[in-house]
């Protein structure tokens, strides 16, 4: 793993720089650390930071840019004619990468020499076989353009790697040298180091922004690609969801409406379960329960929130589904055909959301000032009258916010619906039928074998985009309401 080595070497240079910088500073002060501007360790830290920050910055940048550069170069090498009917440039590029890593493997195993790998025109005919021998899955016979591209891919990559190693090491050494040269007793090392650390802290905080940008970019680009292949109006207004499994046909119907309906319906059932139970539990815990009951019941309810969703998914599939089928199925009321249905997923999701609703509502009810309750008790209201007519109306905006947050959770929940709701997309009002959701379809479209360039896979990004915007909107709105509510009592 050469990058690891590079990483360690840079660290070693930096560590050496630390001690050199320290001793150099002490030397310039004649061994008396009191006449230095800063503590000796700050001089060391100065060298350390100036060694690793530029070097690692360069390393990360290079790792990001090199694949893009290499890909555009290789892509330019492949003539239009080499792209077969029904294939695409990205598929061919994937083939090139596979061939290149096949060559790597073959060289590693000694099946071919490095020389042959680089100029393999001569015995081209059995190259496919050789790569297969080397354990590489090669789908079809390797054509000349692909082999050529794969060869230059390897060359470009290995040159890039070497250049990167040299550049990074140079950056590290240069950083160390410059900062060592700066080091003398009047140099304000502490200020420089602290400024540097502050920049690093800022960089860490900015990762949140980078993540959002990453999410938005990956969604937008792929959604754009999808809409080039599939009309947006059909996607947003289509009422049929039936992706073709054959892969690249135009026969897929990818309308989002049935998925949105399923998402909405299941979330609704979940909220019907979670909101009354969660809200009444919160009211009881915050207004009625003795401290002992509260200390016992509250953490127990919150255990429900700490359970991973995969557990709920399994619970829906294997316990709740068969249980409901026993009551509503053919042997009972005859309403239900299979264990996976809207009620199954909705009920289990509701259970998952109970602690979410109850702890949010609990906070919100507790934020209602005691003076408000006293005012009501002082007039001779009973506790329930006070709660229903004073506390709840006062807490209403906050509770609405909490419910919206719960709704956003329900919409974004994946595992429960993947396992518990079934896979059929349909527009129906019957809660005992299987339906499917946006999240479940994102999973099924992206875990299949379809390649990333097909509309069947790209649709997942459009679904993800819809989901992201939907939950983001709900969250922003809910947080706004909750904040307004809190400000009212602060």
């Amino acid at each position: 793993m050469p990058i690891l080595w590079l990483f360690l070497i840079v660290l070693a240079i930096a560590a050496g720089g630390y001690f050199l910088g320290r001793s150099r500073a002490l030397q310039s002060a004649g061994g008396d650390s009191r006449s230095l501007h800063s503590l000796p360790s700050f001089y060391g830290a100065n060298v350390f930071l100036k060694t690793i920050v530029p070097a690692f910055g360069l390393l990360i940048l290079w790792l990001l840019v090199q694949p893009i550069y290499v890909n555009t170069q290789i892509s330019g090498m492949i003539p239009e004619t080499a792209i077969k009917e029904g294939s695409s440039r990205s598929l061919v590029l994937a083939e090139v990468r596979r061939a290149a890593s096949g060559l790597d493997n073959a060289v590693e195993q000694g099946l071919i020499t490095e020389d042959i790998a680089q100029n393999a025109r001569a015995d081209f005919t059995d190259m496919t076989q050789r790569l297969k021998d080397a354990g590489q899955v090669v789908t079809s016979n390797i054509t000349q353009p692909i082999l050529r591209a794969a060869q230059s891919y390897r060359v470009l990559n290995s040159t890039g790697r070497s250049a990167m190693t040299i550049a990074v090491l140079l950056a590290a050494v240069a950083g160390a040298a410059i900062s060592l040269w700066q080091t003398n007793k009047v140099f304000r090392a502490r200020n420089v180091v602290e400024q540097g650390v502050q920049v690093l802290l800022l960089a860490a905080a900015s990762i949140a922004i980078l993540t959002t940008v990453g999410i938005v970019l990956s969604l937008v680009f792929n959604t754009w690609e999808f809409f080039k292949l599939y009309p947006a109006s059909d996607f947003f207004f289509g009422t049929t969801w039936s992706p073709s499994f054959s892969g690249r046909g135009g026969s897929s119907e990818l309308g989002i409406i049935p998925l949105l309906w399923g998402t909405f319906y299941i979330s609704l059932v979940a909220l019907l379960v979670a909101v009354p139970i969660g809200l009444f539990a919160a009211i009881y815990l915050s207004e009625y329960a003795s401290p002992r009951v509260r200390a016992f019941a509250k953490p127990l309810l919150e255990v429900l929130a700490g359970i991973p969703t995969i557990v709920y998914g399994l619970f829906a599939l294997l316990t709740v589904g068969p249980l409901l089928l026993g009551v509503f199925g053919d042997e009972g009321l005859g309403w239900m055909k299979a264990g996976t249905a809207v009620v199954t997923a909705g009920l289990v999701m509701g259970i998952m959301l109970i602690p979410f609703v109850s702890s949010l509502s609990d906070d919100i009810i507790n934020a209602v000032p005691q003076a408000m309750r006293d005012g009501s008790y002082g007039l001779g209201a009973t506790q329930s009258e006070t709660i229903r007519q004073v506390v709840l109306p006062a807490a209403l905006p906050g509770i609405v916010g909490a419910i919206l947050l719960a709704a956003s959770r329900a919409i974004g929940e994946t595992m429960i619906v993947v396992l518990g709701a079934g896979a059929a997309a349909r527009l129906s009002l019957n809660p005992f039928e299987a339906m499917t959701t946006v999240t479940a379809k994102i999973v099924s479209q992206l875990t299949g074998d379809a390649d990333f360039a097909s509309p069947e896979a790209l649709v997942a990004f459009a679904l993800g985009m819809t989901l992201f915007i939907l939950t983001l909107g709900l969250n922003v709105f809910a947080l706004y309401i909750v904040r307004k509510y809190r400000e009212q009592y602060e």
């Binding site: 793993m1 502050q198 991973p308 399994l314 974004g412 922003v476």
Partner: protein, 443 residues
């Protein structure tokens, strides 16, 4: 200010005595009781769900920790071995030897039952092959008594665990009704017994047709490497980001932007992080699929908001007087934070981090998208570094894989996997609680 005409508009005055309750008061008292009852019902319902959930996990999952084996003490003499090796069907010869031994055992216990080689094969698989392999690998064991523990087939296992019963069993090439007589006889003779299922704890995943051999060990290792990545990235980055926002950030648009981003990321559905991981790490950066490294990166991004929020709360809980005291003796702001505030906030930060890690450990959805599902983790990684980059599964993904397989034998494994997963989560949470109890400081 009082007007005579509106002196006493409300005439329905209450009862004069405090102890006498009128109808309305009784009604109100009843409404009060009813309302309180709703609360109790709500809590009871919540707790009931909790109990049902845990009861079904335990009921369905505990059988995964036992397995059915046929345990036979077997001594192979050198002549027997030579003879077996000289026959044409070598494994059959071993198998015959085994059956003879088994018959002997049954005769000792005074039980007689008819069975043939096919029945043994249905019960135990290719016994002869197993025995032969053992002796060819350990030739020095010839002549010594060896205790063979041979795993019974999944259906036989199911017969003991109630998954398969005489009433529902249909004869098939996997198991026939008559075989169950043999099983009962062997059980009576003490040859078939239930033992603790170590292979489930330590083993790797098996193929789709062998639920009995599936183990969770490899995916525990995968989870371990993934958590290392999450810990190594999210703790320093999270703490650094929190320190910046809490101690150094100026009041400006950029800081607001960061804050808004963090609070929104905390509520973004986890599957969206999976999409991010797929698009950025796999499509764009060409990192290996199914690798714990990639899973760790995705989960880091997902856990960061949680860790930042709890770390900021711990930093905020350190009173400003501590900072003032440090600044007062001439420390720089940076020194005040790193020497005084951060150590005081450390227990809270650790607690928050552990809880964040526990959340990440149980997360499944984003991992499905970066290829950690359907992947058959057949073994352990080759080394420490390979642990990060080699394809592997992780616990929740492994559980999902099992739940999605057609053979119901895997369901038991999935539940068993959940017990293991929950045990890890429980341990982490207990550690967090102990940390909080032990080091919590009230200012």
């Amino acid at each position: 200010m009082t007007d005579a005409s509106m002196e006493n508009p409300g005439t329905g005055r209450r009862a004069t005595s405090l102890t006498a309750s009128d109808e309305r008061t009784l009604k109100r008292a009843k409404a009060e009781k009813r309302f309180r009852l709703y609360g109790i019902i709500a809590i009871a319902t919540g707790l009931f769900f909790l109990v049902v959930l845990f009861a079904s996990i335990l009921k369905e999952g505990i059988p995964a920790f036992t397995r059915t084996v046929v345990s036979v003490e077997f001594t192979l003499t050198e002549p027997q071995r030579a003879e077996a090796e000289s026959t044409l069907f070598k494994t059959k010869a071993y198998s015959d030897l085994f059956i003879t031994e088994l018959n002997g055992k049954l005769a000792e216990s005074g039980i007689s039952v008819d069975f043939d080689e096919a029945a043994i094969e249905r019960l135990l698989g290719k016994v002869g092959g197993t025995i032969r392999t053992f002796y060819s690998e350990n030739p020095d064991q010839v002549g010594e008594p060896i205790n063979f523990e041979l795993a019974a087939s999944s259906r036989v296992d199911g017969y003991f665990k109630g998954r398969v019963s005489r009433d529902t069993l249909q004869d098939s090439r996997f198991l026939q009704l008559s075989d169950l007589d043999l099983v009962d006889a062997l059980t009576e003779a003490g040859v078939i017994k239930q033992v603790f299922n170590w292979p489930f704890i330590t083993g790797a995943d098996s193929g789709v047709d062998n639920p009995g051999g599936a183990g969770i060990g490899a995916s525990v290792v995968g989870s371990f490497f993934m958590m290392l990545v999450v810990l190594a990235l999210s703790l320093p980055i999270g703490v650094a980001a929190s320190i910046y926002l809490e101690e150094f950030a100026p009041q400006n648009k950029f800081t607001d932007l960061i804050e808004v981003n963090i609070s929104n990321l905390a509520a973004v559905p986890s599957i969206v992080f999976g999409i991010l991981g797929l698009a950025v790490f796999i499509q764009f950066m060409h990192l290996p699929q199914s690798a714990p490294l990639v899973g760790g990166l995705v989960l880091t991004l997902m856990t960061l908001p949680t860790i930042i929020i709890s770390t900021r709360a711990s930093l905020k809980a350190v009173p400003p007087s501590i900072r003032d005291a440090a600044l007062g003796v001439g420390a720089s702001k940076m020194q005040a934070v790193f020497h005084h505030v951060l150590p005081l906030a450390a227990p809270g930060i650790l607690t928050g981090t552990i809880i964040g890690l526990a959340q990440a450990l149980g997360e499944t959805a984003p991992l499905l998208l970066i290829g950690m599902v359907g992947f058959v983790a057949r073994g352990y990684p080759d080394g420490f570094l390979a642990g990060f980059t080699e394809p592997n599964s992780v616990m929740p993904a492994q559980i999902y894989t099992w739940a999605a397989r057609a053979d119901v034998g895997f369901y038991e494994k999935a539940w068993g996997g959940i017990i293991i997963l929950l045990m890890f989560l429980l341990t982490m949470n207990i550690i967090a609680i102990i940390l909080r109890r032990r080091f919590e400081r009230r200012w």
